[in-house]
């Protein structure tokens, strides 16, 4: 089979790519190893603030809105100890089960005319003279070859075909173990509020250097329904940090639940009803190389989630949009060289790198620093307009204030000079 474009993986990133490429009039085959709708373990948050324009372009905004299970309007932030503050979100975040939301996005691509082939498991890229020429895989237990001028690799954080190109994040500082489960009897919940908990004090610091390197305290709790005691609770911890502690994520989580102020505040009597389920979560501090001759790599496969809150859907779907723009030009001049396709990276990183740099700064300077975390909370509480304080806005102004007064802090990445394996480049 020979196609113009084959998109491997029909999650939000792959489906958006297929949609926008169809819009440009290209011949697109969208494949996935699953049949849709399919389950996906994840935080279930669609970041509406960024995604709204894409949803509207794809014509699925209203459909998505109908499926919103719960809309997160506030974010409660814990500091070290007892401090807490509630921010308003500029735009509420949508919690939609991935099973439903992803399928709506995929159907938009199919409506636009992308051919849909479920049950095809991509196993290997077809390479000719260093150029990707399609993908080999298995359909109904038989090997199948799909040749294509352009191959889009969007099959998630485990992507072995991405690894074939050397694009795969294994850096222990930026590869997270995430777990999540549904809990009942959660106390002190406020409807419409998600919690981010930054509390560096609860855990004995085993290795300060290690803790400086890693996002130290990523815990989140989200209400699932308005009845009050049911919540989705989870955490993600970097592999390097777990290794440093010699712990597993669930041990880490349980330790937090038993020993921290917010853990006791929310989960003292809470019961997990469906087991804690885990997933792999790679992220980046700036958009990494996500192209090769004849191929784009989209979303988690290119480790594009942000380095602080781990939102992955926005960079994946925007990736699809930019990839389609570059693909149109590439088909017009019939040039699929690495150089041509690198424009995709330039456009995507042009949009996301400044935001990601800010996230890195938040992670490094606020989350890992109890003095600053405490100061952020107390100064926010002291603002005359509180509680009418917006989350993003407050963080940006606060960052500016802090950076103006404290020369030691910088926006630069502390992981500079590290390769994707997490090893130091200067040896």
């Amino acid at each position: 089979m020979k196609r113009q474009v084959v998109v491997v993986g029909a999650g939000p990133g792959g489906s958006a790519t297929a949609f926008y490429m169809r819009k440009k009039g290209l011949d697109v085959l969208l494949v996935d190893k699953e049949t849709f709708p399919r389950e996906k373990i994840c935080g279930d948050a669609y970041q509406r603030a960024s995604l709204e324009p894409i949803f509207r372009e794809m014509g699925i905004y209203e459909e998505m809105e109908k499926e919103v299970r719960y809309s997160s309007k506030f974010i409660r932030q814990f500091g070290p100890g007892e401090e807490e503050v509630v921010f308003k979100l500029e735009k509420s975040e949508w919690i939609i089960p991935r099973r439903i939301g992803d399928d709506i996005i995929r159907r938009a691509a199919v409506r636009e005319g992308a051919d849909w082939l479920p049950g095809f498991e991509a196993t290997e890229l077809i390479m000719k003279k260093g150029q990707v020429k399609g993908v080999k895989g298995i359909l109904n237990n038989e090997e199948m070859i799909i040749e294509a001028d352009l191959t889009v690799i969007a099959n998630g954080s485990h992507s072995m075909i991405g690894r074939q190109l050397g694009i795969f994040n294994n850096d222990p500082a930026l590869f997270m173990y995430a777990i999540r489960g549904n809990w009942v009897n959660v106390e002190n919940l406020v409807p419409g509020t998600s919690c981010w908990i930054y509390d560096p004090d609860w855990m004995p610091v085993v290795d300060q250097e290690l803790c400086d390197k890693h996002f130290y305290q990523p815990m989140w709790i989200g209400c699932l329904d308005l009845e009050g005691t049911k919540a989705s609770v989870g955490c993600c911890v970097s592999e390097g940090l777990l290794k440093g502690h010699g712990m597993s994520v669930d041990e880490y989580f349980n330790y937090w639940k038993e020993h921290s102020v917010p853990g006791q505040r929310y989960l003292k009597n809470a019961v997990n009803i469906d087991g804690m389920k885990g997933w792999r979560l790679p992220c980046c501090e700036k958009i990494e190389k996500n192209y090769a001759a004849g191929a784009f790599v989209i979303g988690d496969a290119a480790a594009s989630p942000d380095p602080c809150y781990y939102y992955g859907i926005a960079p994946a779907m925007f990736g699809g949009k930019f990839a389609a723009d570059v693909a149109e030009e590439a088909f017009a001049i019939d040039d699929f060289s690495e150089e041509k396709l690198s424009e995709f990276h330039a456009r995507l990183s042009g949009m996301f790198d400044p935001i990601w740099a800010q996230y890195v700064a938040i992670r490094k300077n606020i989350v890992g620093n109890r003095e600053v975390a405490r100061d952020l909370i107390t100064s926010t509480l002291a603002l005359p307009e509180y509680p009418e304080v917006f989350y993003g806005q407050r963080f940006s102004t606060y960052m500016k204030e802090v950076f103006a007064s404290n020369a030691k802090m910088s926006f630069g990445s502390h992981l500079e000079g590290r390769d994707r394996e997490g090893k130091s480049k200067t040896k």
Binding site: R163, E239, K277
Partner: protein, 593 residues
């Protein structure tokens, strides 16, 4: 050509060598020419490199590397998501520990690499896969049926993902393949070796020594080769045709097995005069018997003679002239090991109305493998744990009526295999018995004790160790063969016998089982319990070819070999011996990048 020396292409040494045949000295300066950038690299700067994506971890290069520069690396298996695994674990530290704890190769007492032959079988190379097995395991069909498969217990797929690859069944499939043939042994050395006993240990020692190039003669006391495989293991566990198939392969390859040649004290002296080395692999043919009151009653039998008599279709008797009837009777088996389970299942098959196994040990301490116990229970055999016999009772001498047992209060196994235990004589029970089999261990003939210190006599098999499984006996035979070779040749070798160390593969090689095909795992056809107990047909069948491929494709390929470029001397042996062929290349040290 550079001015530094004569450039000899390593790929075509003969051509250039012919042109320069007069000078031997110059051959030392062999250099490798890098074809891509036409650069000349001196040999010291060349190293072998193994492609991890293509390597199937068969271990041939590692075993044959003269400087021990090749190590087995084990990949970490990520198992944090429930989509990848049925047994999620969220600890990166634990994942790393699991990777280097064991591999199927280090678990095998023969150091045979299952991943290697599975990899070749997956590619349809059945003969090559068989060759890998045959090089280290001369009884593949037998092991394919009765090995207690430590490799499957070590299989990472079983530990981390779902259930282990059915390595034993794959081996059986490859071994029963009629088309797989073996190469004839080539005698190289003058030294001769005599082996006493054609059981698993003797045959293995013979195979290894013959393959090394020695002239080997095996002397077997009975009229058939196989030893305990034929005498001890019941037919329903091991098809007799499979033993014969393995032995035929050995004789086809040129192994000299002399039947009906019982070696006694006098013959032994003659053997020592005629042969350079004698390996005693005569086994432990005699059963221990508890000499408690009533042990001479008719109907009390030692396990070894019981199994031998049933396996050969003989009339059951304790000794000449004493024949007793057992049909419809109730049988009691004393002991808790594999032999006791075999004896119990055999008793059921020859018509005992009720079979009870009484063991000294309790629960997990029972020496029989869990699946043996489970199969026995499936077939309706009762197992009583924690009792020791104190008397065989009778009311009509010499016929046995029952066995009196006392409760075991404490039981401890010593390092040498002996069991220390105490009983409570007040707490007793009696089990009705029309006949009794004592399966409490076996011992060797005393005559061999005289040779313990002799330099030219080696021991292998049950006689040399207290481990009593088939594959352990074979490993002991292999050890004897390697010891003999080292003595005769004065070899200074790396320790082939010690299980090698595993190294941790870099994170980039991490395996995500998610991306492997999820396949419905196959099950070998087994007979139903009701069918089993009425016949001696082998309970377990053979995989179909489709099932074989399904199993092979499920192998995660955790291991691969890595060359330490610092130690590599670029001799090229690994490249030459690699059964897959496309795995090893010679490159400049420090990489070509």
């Amino acid at each position: 050509m550079s001015s530094g020396g004569i450039n000899i292409d390593v790929k075509e040494p003969s051509k250039k060598g012919a042109a320069n045949s007069s000078s031997k000295k110059k051959q030392v300066e062999i250099v490798k020419k890098d074809f891509l950038d036409n650069k000349v690299v001196p040999l010291e700067e060349v190293t072998a490199e193994i492609n991890p994506e293509k390597c199937i971890n068969c271990g041939v290069c590692r075993d044959n590397c003269p400087v021990n520069a090749i190590a087995e690396n084990q990949r970490i298996i990520c198992h944090s998501c429930s989509v990848c695994t049925d047994k999620p674990g969220f600890s990166p530290t634990r994942s790393e520990e699991l990777a280097t704890e064991c591999s199927c190769t280090t678990a095998c007492p023969l150091q045979l690499s299952p991943q290697g032959y599975i990899g070749l079988a997956k590619a349809g190379l059945y003969q090559e896969a068989f060759d890998i097995i045959w090089a280290k395991n001369p009884l593949p069909a037998v092991c394919g049926s009765v090995c207690h498969h430590p490799c499957e217990d070590a299989c990472k797929r079983g530990i981390i993902v779902d259930s282990p690859i059915k390595i034993r069944d794959i081996k059986k499939y490859l071994a029963v393949n009629e088309e797989a043939n073996v190469k004839k042994y080539k005698p190289i050395y003058e030294e001769t070796v005599a082996i006493i006993g054609a059981g698993p240990a003797g045959l293995t020692a013979g195979h290894y020594l013959a393959a090394m190039g020695y002239e080997v003669t095996i002397f077997e006391g009975s009229n058939e080769a196989g030893g305990m495989l034929k005498r001890g293991i019941p037919e329903f566990r091991l098809d007799r045709g499979l033993i014969d198939q393995d032995i035929k392969r050995l004789t086809d390859a040129g192994l000299d097995i002399r039947l009906d040649s019982r070696i006694d004290k006098y013959m032994m002296e003659e053997l020592r005069r005629e042969y350079d080395i004698v390996i005693v692999a005569a086994g432990t043919p005699t059963s221990k018997e508890l000499q408690i009151p009533g042990w001479r009653l008719a109907g009390v039998m030692p396990a070894a003679s019981f199994m031998q008599q049933v396996n050969h279709g003989m009339q059951l008797r304790r000794h000449l002239g004493q024949i007793f009837e057992f049909q419809d009777g109730e049988a009691v088996i004393i002991g808790g090991g594999s032999v006791a389970m075999d004896a119990a299942r055999t008793a059921k098959r020859i018509g005992a109305s009720k079979v009870t196994v009484v063991s000294l040990e309790c629960g997990e301490e029972i020496p029989a493998h869990p699946w043996e116990k489970a199969e026995a229970i499936e077939e309706g055999i009762e197992i009583i744990e924690g009792y020791s016999p104190i008397e065989f009772t009778t009311d009509l001498f010499p016929k046995i009526k029952g066995v009196k047992f006392a409760k075991v209060t404490a039981c401890k196994k010593e390092a040498d295999g002996k069991i220390n235990f105490t009983i409570d004589e007040a707490d007793t029970m009696e089990v009705k018995a029309d006949w009794v089999v004592q399966a409490i261990g076996q011992f060797a003939d005393e005559v061999w004790n005289n040779y313990k210190d002799a330099k030219d006599v080696f021991f292998a098999g049950d006689i040399a160790s207290n481990k009593c499984s088939v594959v352990d006996a074979m490993a002991s035979g292999r050890q004897a063969a390697i010891d003999v070779d080292a003595l005769l040749r004065g070899r200074l070798m790396k320790n082939d016998l010690a299980s090698h160390e595993l190294e941790l593969a870099p994170v980039m090689q991490r395996i995500y089982p998610y991306n492997r095909r999820k396949v419905a795992r196959s099950t070998v056809k087994t007979l139903a319990p009701e069918e089993r107990i009425s016949s001696f047909d082998e309970v377990e069948g053979v995989l179909t070819e489709e099932q074989l491929l399904t199993e092979a494709i499920s192998c995660l390929g955790c291991g691969y070999e890595v060359v330490n470029s610092e130690e590599c001397i670029a001799c090229g042996i690994c490249q030459k011996l690699c059964p897959k062929g496309d795995v090893i290349t010679m490159v400049a040290k420090g990489g070509t990048k």
